[in-house]
Symmetry: C2
Subunit: 244 residues, 2 copies
Amino acid sequence: MINPILSPVHTSSRDDAVLNALVDFVASEGLKPGDRLPTERVLSEYLKVSRTTVREALTRWQELGLVERRQGSGTYLRAAVTRNMLHMPLTLPSGNDFGSLMHTLEIRRGLEAEAAVLCAERASDEDIAFIEQKLIRMEAAFHEREGMSSEEDWDFHLAVFRTSGNPLFEQIIAAMYEMFHRFWEHPLGVRDFGHASFPYHRTLFNCIAARDPVGARAEALKLIATVEDDLRRGAANLKKQSKT
Amino acid sequence: MINPILSPVHTSSRDDAVLNALVDFVASEGLKPGDRLPTERVLSEYLKVSRTTVREALTRWQELGLVERRQGSGTYLRAAVTRNMLHMPLTLPSGNDFGSLMHTLEIRRGLEAEAAVLCAERASDEDIAFIEQKLIRMEAAFHEREGMSSEEDWDFHLAVFRTSGNPLFEQIIAAMYEMFHRFWEHPLGVRDFGHASFPYHRTLFNCIAARDPVGARAEALKLIATVEDDLRRGAANLKKQSKT
DNA sequence: GCGCCTAATTGGTTGGACCATTGTGCCAAT
DNA sequence: ATTGGCACAATGGTCCAACCAATTAGGCGC
């Protein structure tokens, strides 16, 4: 019954009218992320609505991360906007406990496995060469710094997601990834966090290169499993520390 | 009362202060989703901020789907709220072409299978009884109206997702579900849309009741497969029609 | 008891005012 | 000529008081 998304189209709402007009404006002016929007007062006058209404509309975009406001400076675009965007506000209660972090991994488990399957099914030769390049770069960074490199690691996975041909994978998993790392920059004092996942990157790639969807799923699952394991170890670590 | 803990971050924003106070109020009153919040004017007076500020704060919660406003009636809680909630709003460009629709199904394939697994692993006896009740209701609606009922069908799946213990499943899948149905209330002229998925609801339930995660995954995948098939038939239908 | 109508309540909108922060450009001191 | 500080204008943030629009509750007549 409580559907977090469904919001009967309030076409009569002034806010939506303002936002739609703003989408058109952004499109007609060719504004890109980082560019400044007109001031609230200007929008208010131009759209023939009160400044309060403009503010309410901008507040909504701000909450969705589409826009950033800087007092004294202006309002700046942060992402591409289009009409009929689908907004998907994900909410986790109390985001920094063990359970919530595990929840993000459960989502990744389902999605990364599926993405690996699709990637293995659809990858062209060029795609595979590109992914291999990312893999080699990741491995090099691993040996250089003697540990996982978040950036190169992410680039590799990103290449896999994009090859799946479905942009939703990248966006949703990226959100999970950010949720996970927001509180665990140095997760729970586990020094070699992510270390165990290293070998599975290559085995995953091998399955993709061999167009083996079943194997790719298996390797992706193993990879996630190591992360889950790290998280469990970290949680145990924390428990032990709090006892002393 | 406000937590005696030293306020970690002196909230620079009035909005956040209002929302934090509101979280405490909801907690102290034991309000649940569906309950009514105090009116904006009351909050304004009690919190010693202007009604404008209260409105801006509530607008943010509304955009996150935490709260619903009804003019002339009041503001109602839609989800549990806590301090330190983690918000991750995603905005997806929603297309209404065949490819985009299929993309939502690929996401659902990965997530519904995973949710079914977790549900089968974690369901208590009460959970199973509740899910069965939803199943029976869905089957009754099916036979009554001789076709799938979106509402009862969704209720059944919802029960499964919630039993998984991970709120993200419901949120993400609901977004996919809405994206799918936004343009295809009567998808592509396929009259018996969803018809083929009917039997798999019970087989899925049986696996869950038997605590068989592997079987549950298989049945969930079959269920999604029928929807994908319907979509393909619809697309073919449309193609044929446009030719004439 | 039933149905309609009125009045109070509540969110939505408006206009105007002022505050806090930021950016800019001028001006003086070096 | 460069640099530093200062005044001022622009911009988002907050406030107030009133009115609009939808909803709800209560009372009135039947």
